[in-house]
Amino acid sequence: MRAFTYERAKDAVEAARIVAGRPDAKFIAGGTNLLDLMKLEIETPTHLVDVQDLGFDKIEKTRDGGLRIGALVTNTDLAADERVRRDYGVLTRAIVAGASGQLRNKASTAGNLLQRTRCPYFYDTNMACNKRKPGSGCAAIGGYSRQLGVIGVSNACIATFPGDMAVAMRVLDAAIETVDGGGQKRSIPIAEFHRLWGDRPEIDTVLKPGELITAVTLPRPIGGRHFYEKVRDRASYAYALVSVAAVIQRDGTGRVAFGGVAPRPWRVEAADALLPQGAAAVTARAFQGATPTRDNAFKLPLATRALASVIAQAKA
């Protein structure tokens, strides 16, 4: 870990201004992903701006009947919120399927959206990785890729977004609210938040330098039955091989997003429309153009079968 200076921000715009002004500066909130990566010098900030005092730790009702989740709300608190459990069950389900109790107590809502891939070649600094070191190549291609992406990936990078929470937020059509160093605010639909790698896999999201996440908003509840089916080798404390977030209405319509398969939570709205026709129809559409490797080709039938499991539960 490189040496760094540290300060605790008192004001969001000021924090954003500091980070925007120094390419070597980073925000830190829960720190559970950033410090992990700093120890390996995959992340090498020389200045940290701690945002824990900014007060973004509340969950409030929005005027249109949705929820505004402060960027610093911990995973535990978000999952435990009674309104979330009642009206956005898929979100609670997704959060408690991820990481461990200890990590969820520290991990923040914003940080969880920003967590970086778990590709083992990204994590090993002896290996080529375009995401870690632009232009160095991708050791994962042609390597061990069982965990890696099957769709939305590129010739430069086949990593996945590893999170669970964001997959649920994707079916809920969440939006990410930010502020920049000039005090400018914007709201980014989650569908547009995570980038596909293309030839710039080092850039994970559409955030600009120094742009600070202040909240995530959820539209008003959409009813239906909520599911998060996470498939992994061990029963807990493991990343998804494939996950399915779904909200299914009584008439069989609904929404579905997949985790563990792509650079972003993978949802194809045109595939949602095929839900009444069954799992195979949905995944055929959602995974059209998939480019799996030999190691991870199983994720395609697995996605279908995991969704079928969800549909069966919805019918039960």
């Binding site: 490189r2 002896n126 199983f298 079928a308």
Partner: protein, 738 residues
């Protein structure tokens, strides 16, 4: 004490302390965080911190190392490389040297140690060490390398060995003639010990004398190999390892942390402490090698096995040894015509070596599926097939009997307890919601090994009994069973015994490995206690031959006295070792068991979850049923990992294990493991040692993965012969989803 005739009645048989469930005497220290592990000893003030740099290539040479930047980094005191370390030897137990240079033997082999004032400074400076490698072509593909690999015999260094080829009768003819047969290939992957405490050492020099606190299972091996590596006399080294945060074979041998701490302390002229960073542990250290196994079984329609062949291939570094996966097949089942053989390929992956139950663990993973497959072909219950082929003698040398063998009772009692009769003989029949449910069985088998073991027992003037031995407690319960043994021998409660372990200042013991620790180390304590009893009785004027030690008193011949009074005139010290001669020529010593498992396989996703586990074990006298049971449930848990998730993924291009941390090399977590049941048959093996005890710590690992695999087959009707049983190996052969 020479043990060369079976034990007769002795003080241990009273079983007032030994054999009773006893909480661990080290429990209050461990549960309050007061037990000091290697990195935590505070006897040395102001240590500097070391951080290891590992090789970025698997095979090649170091052309140059540029240390300029690292040396200039804040806080750096010294940097050790092969070029600066002076001439180093290689430990006798090490296949590969522990510091690379100029030759690199495997990925993450240590190439440098940075020593700095603080941990943070050492870590940062380590990233500034610039190494220029010339990468060489290596051999990393086991299947490819086995095509031309020679037949090789060998021993894992932990007791499991086999010759290159071993034949009894005429296997080929018998197999050809057998009316029912199976011929199948099985694969097991590379496994990592993944013990929770990383390799860690603190080294301090005083002139030419070295004190090393470390985490090692075998004090004397570690001390000897450290002396050999550093080129100094063994008696100049004091090595201490009173608490070991898990080893499983990974800490049997001297490792890089110990060597580098010693070299770093010498270079920095300061004590140095270091712990290997977790992401380096997998490739820097040893691992259980992958195997490719072929098993052929031929049987009569009544289930009598007439032909049995087990061939295994594995790989290791040059001059390494094979994974002796055929070992148990020489002994477990009857059959007149037998063949075992092993091939060993040269690989440039990290060093393969012993991991919990080397040989038997991967061997039983294959053999016990093969038995299940044969049972199905015979339309015979798999429990019945195993019983049918029980043998009370070494099938290759019928004149050698097993000293004790209750495999059949383990199977029958286990079947009854588990409700085996409710198992559907036809697979894929039982459904519980989305779960396909199945049951599986496997035999458990692991040899018991006799090893010399010494101890010293003191009776202080204050009446306190103190045992000193270099035996280690790696979670096995050594502290407690040694206290129980001395307590039984001297007629005092276990709580009254002070146990000091894990120092080279104490008599050399069997150490912890090969499930030989408990039985041999306590037998060594027994021998030392016999010496102390003689002295104590004499002091009290009682004939040692008839003296009875009970309730803190010594009595005999009408006389009686307080044990503590025996030492009132000065401390008594009894020291001896247990040694074995010829009994293992006459008898085969082994431990037995039966594993029963029920699993659910998600009909949609193919994920397997274990629902119930039972092990019935026959392993001689159980010295402490509490810690012995824990050894078995722990082994069952590790076995569950090997069945369902554990696999070091090999990158055949770069010659390294890709998933080299605890997030990507998955081992079981709480949620994976149901309530486990363990039953010990009441046994005492008087031919084994005066404790009449045998090993148990690895027995629980042997066969459990096979039982899980058989349960998965019983649930799904899809046979997987390639471990671990991850979902993609049967997903598309599962019943179709609607």
């Amino acid at each position: 004490m020479q043990f060369d005739t079976p034990a007769t009645t002795n003080p241990i048989d009273r079983m007032k302390v030994v054999g009773r469930p006893h909480e661990r005497i080290d429990g209050p220290l461990k549960t309050t965080g007061q037990a000091p592990y290697a990195y935590e000893h505070r006897a040395i003030a102001n240590p500097a911190y070391g951080y290891i740099v590992g090789s970025a290539v698997a095979k090649g040479t170091i052309r140059s190392i540029n240390l300029d930047e690292a040396r200039g980094a804040p806080g750096v005191l010294s940097i050790v490389t092969a070029a600066t370390a002076g001439k180093l030897g290689k430990g006798q137990m090490n296949t590969v040297k522990l510091l690379a240079g100029p030759q690199v033997d495997h990925y993450h082999q240590a190439v440098a140690l940075v020593v700095a004032e603080t941990f943070e400074q050492a870590r940062a400076a380590a990233a500034l060490v610039r190494v220029d490698y010339a990468r060489a072509t290596g051999s990393y593909d086991l299947d490819e390398a086995l095509k031309s690999a020679p037949l090789t015999g060998g021993d894992s260094g932990e007791g499991s060995g086999a010759p290159p080829v071993d034949r009894t009768g005429k296997f080929e003819d018998a197999f050809a003639a057998a009316p029912v047969k199976i011929d199948a290939e099985y694969t097991t992957p590379d496994h990592s010990h993944a013990m929770m405490e990383p390799f860690a050492s603190i080294a301090a020099w005083n002139g030419d004398e070295l004190t090393l606190w470390t985490s090692n299972q075998m004090i004397d091996w570690g001390r000897g190999d450290l002396a050999k590596t550093l080129g100094i006399p063994k008696d100049k080294i004091t090595l201490m390892s009173p608490y070991v945060g898990g080893g499983f074979g990974g800490k049997l041998f001297l490792r890089a942390d110990a060597v580098l701490a010693a070299l770093g302390a010498k270079a920095a002229k300061r004590p140095v402490k270091l712990a290997m960073q977790r992401p380096m542990m997998v490739n820097n250290a040893t691992h259980r090698p992958a195997t490719r196994q072929r098993i052929r079984l031929g049987a009569q329609p009544d289930g009598t096995i007439t032909a049995i062949a087990h061939e295994s291939g594995s790989g290791d570094q040059p001059n390494g040894g094979p994974e002796a996966a055929v070992n148990q097949t020489k002994l477990l089942y009857a059959g007149a015509n037998r063949l075992t053989s092993m091939r060993l390929a040269v690989l440039n992956l990290p060093e393969g070596n012993a991991m919990r139950a080397p040989g038997e663990a991967p061997g039983m993973m294959a053999l016990e599926i093969a038995m299940d497959e044969l049972a199905e072909k015979l339309r015979m219950d798999p429990v019945a097939l195993r019983i049918k082929n029980d043998t009370q003698v070494d099938p290759e040398k019928p004149e050698r009997r097993f000293s004790q063998r209750q495999l059949v009772r383990c199977l029958t009692e286990g079947a009854q307890r588990f409700g085996w009769s409710r198992r559907s003989a036809t697979p894929g029949q039982v459904r519980d919601g989305k779960w396909l449910v199945g049951m599986g069985v496997a035999a458990a088998f692991r040899n018991h090994v006799n090893r010399t073991s010494g101890a010293r027992v003191r009776l202080g003037q204050d009446g306190v009994v103190t045992v000193e031995t270099d035996m280690t407690d790696i979670g096995t319960g050594s502290y407690t069973i040694i206290a129980q043994t001395a307590g039984e021998m001297l007629g005092v409660p276990a709580e009254a015994v002070v146990v000091k372990l894990g120092s080279s200042a104490f008599p050399v013991s069997a150490g912890s490995g090969g499930q030989w620790g408990a039985a041999n180390a306590t037998a060594g304590v027994y021998a030392a206690c016999v010496k102390l009893r003689e002295q104590a009785a004499q002091r009290l004027g009682i004939d040692p031959a008839t003296a009875d030690f009970a309730d803190g008193r010594v009595s005999g011949g009408g006389k009686s006295g307080d044990l503590r009074a025996a030492a009132s005139g000065g401390e008594l010290v009894g020291e001896d070792k247990i040694e074995f001669d010829k009994l293992d020529k006459t008898y085969q010593f082994a431990t037995f068991g039966a594993h029963f498992v029920e699993v659910g396989v998600d009909a949609y996703t193919g994920i397997t979850r274990i629902r119930r586990m039972l092990a019935v074990c026959a392993a001689g006298r159980i010295i402490n049923p509490v810690s012995a049971r824990s050894q078995v449930i722990g082994a069952m848990t590790m076995g569950a990992g090997s069945a369902l998730m554990e696999e070091l993924a090999v990158d055949k291009r770069f010659g390294m294990f890709v998933n080299h941390d605890l997030a990507s090399y998955e081992v079981p977590v709480h949620a994976d493991i149901p309530q486990q049941e363990v039953v010990f048959l009441d046994e005492a093996d008087e031919k084994a040692n005066p404790m009449k005890a045998k090993g148990v710590g690895e027995l629980g690992m042997c066969g459990v993965a096979g039982a899980i695999a058989n349960a998965v087959y019983n649930a799904t009707g899809v046979r997987i012969r390639d471990y671990p049983l991850t979902l993609e190996k049967h997903l598309e052969r599962l019943p179709p989803i609607v």
